[in-house]
């Protein structure tokens, strides 16, 4: 188990219900001899003759060239697989589902305490009640955030990742099944408060939105560049505290643009409402684009189903 955050052994809960991982790791795999084993054994490597990259494999120099029946042969198996392939596969499925149903999904990421939940509560209150709003809340423990969201009238589902440090696409896919959001709705996914791990895990969202509060220091984008690179929008939150802080807003934006030159920036205060109209307009524009994508998908089914 990871001693820092113990990602592996936590108990995942969706909506309070205990969930098992979809793919259980098995302890051992039994050996099964196959007919083509000798042929496979032709590409070999040994401890004395390690193979360091695919273009160094020498088919002629291995032990298998002088094959002795019954002798164990080592061989090289080509894998060439992205470590995040499985997550990306689930993320693609989520993205397809969301697009087919015209659901505009945002993945809100930040360090803990940047004001994501407050921003969501205020956003839900401020958005016109045209389309239904759903929220998936990710936290290691407690249902506190989902309760805060439900108080606004929006439907919220809490995912407790146990000891996991991020949401993954499989968790979100299963949460979507349980939420069963209406056509053309809005979905906010509030990720676990963590500026590192959620950057690597695509959930199938339309955009990652990174929330940076101005109490955190201007150089957060340089310290945690992966997240700012993965995001499409940065929200500079708690701007009402500006008079009390020696915060260089321009510097923070400049740092973020060093990592991601196309990152859009909105400055706001979720508490006072200052800057909120720009954020609401950004959401509505994205929602309109999603409706266009949905009708395009309907007109021309690309998968021939």
């Amino acid at each position: 188990m990871c001693t820092t955050c113990g990602c592996r052994s936590g108990v995942m809960r969706i909506g309070g219900k205990r969930r098992q991982p979809r793919h259980k790791l098995e302890g051992t795999t039994p050996y099964r001899a196959t007919a083509n084993q000798t042929a496979d054994a032709r590409s070999t490597a040994s401890a004395n003759h390690p193979i360091h990259s695919h273009d160094l494999i020498d088919f002629g120099s291995g032990v298998a060239e002088t094959h002795v029946p019954g002798m164990r042969q080592s061989r090289i198996v080509k894998i060439e697989r992205d470590i995040l392939a499985k997550n990306n596969h689930y993320a693609d499925a989520n993205r397809r589902y969301l697009t087919e149903h015209g659901i505009f999904a945002l993945n809100l990421v930040s360090s803990p305490g940047s004001g994501k939940t407050t921003l969501l509560v205020q956003t839900i209150a401020a958005l016109p009640a045209v389309q239904p709003i759903y929220v998936i809340e990710g936290d290691q423990q407690t249902e506190n955030d989902a309760l805060r969201i439900r108080a606004t009238g929006a439907r919220a589902l809490q995912i407790n990742t146990g000891k996991g440090c991020h949401l993954d696409a499989d968790m979100v896919g299963r949460a979507l099944q349980q939420l069963n959001p209406q056509e053309s709705s809005l979905l906010f996914i509030e990720n676990v408060g963590n500026l590192v791990c959620p950057a690597s895990f695509d959930l199938g969202e339309a955009h990652k939105v990174v929330v940076l509060s101005i109490t955190e220091g201007e150089d957060k984008p340089l310290k945690y560049p992966d997240m700012f690179r993965a995001a499409d929008l940065m929200i500079l939150n708690k701007c009402d505290l500006m008079p009390y802080l020696a915060y260089d807003l321009e510097l923070a934006i400049d740092y973020a643009h060093r990592i991601n030159p196309t990152l859009q920036v909105i400055q706001l205060s979720a508490v006072t409402g200052e800057g909120m109209p720009a954020w609401l307009a950004w959401i509505e524009a994205g929602h309109r684009r999603m409706q266009a994508a949905k009708s395009k998908l309907k007109d021309w089914p690309p998968h021939g189903e």
Binding site: C2, L25, T28, Q37, P50, S53, I76, V77, K78, R81
Partner: protein, 113 residues
């Protein structure tokens, strides 16, 4: 510290390959980890060691092939080497390089028996 999740993914890839390609033991695992990937190699090795205990990859050697970072500078319209995500272009000194490669995480090959 998502290295544990990534190490779990590697173990799953190994186990799927074991079923498909019929091997009983993994002696070496070659991974490609890009210089710009969000992975701490020491943490990854630590997690990998723990996860491979009592598995077909127990005591397997972990070989990490580091892939150099390569970016694109819009101002120079040329490729430039990158070692961090906030590197400047060595020609014009501007920020905002677009990553072309070096953010990969791949299981490349296994030595098995």
């Amino acid at each position: 510290m998502h290295e544990m999740s990534l190490a779990e993914e590697v173990m799953q890839i190994i186990q799927e390959a074991a079923l498909r390609q019929s091997f009983a033991r993994v002696k070496t695992v070659w991974l490609e980890i890009g210089q710009l990937a969000c992975v701490e190699q020491a943490a990854f090795r630590f997690c990998f060691d723990i996860l491979t205990r009592d598995s077909i990859a127990q005591q397997a050697r972990l070989e990490i092939l580091e892939i150099s970072g390569l970016g694109w500078c819009h101002s120079c319209a040329q490729e430039v080497p990158m070692t961090t995500l906030h590197d400047v272009c060595f020609r014009c000194g501007r920020y905002g390089l677009v990553v072309l490669s070096g953010d990969d995480l791949r299981v490349k090959e296994l030595e098995v028996e």
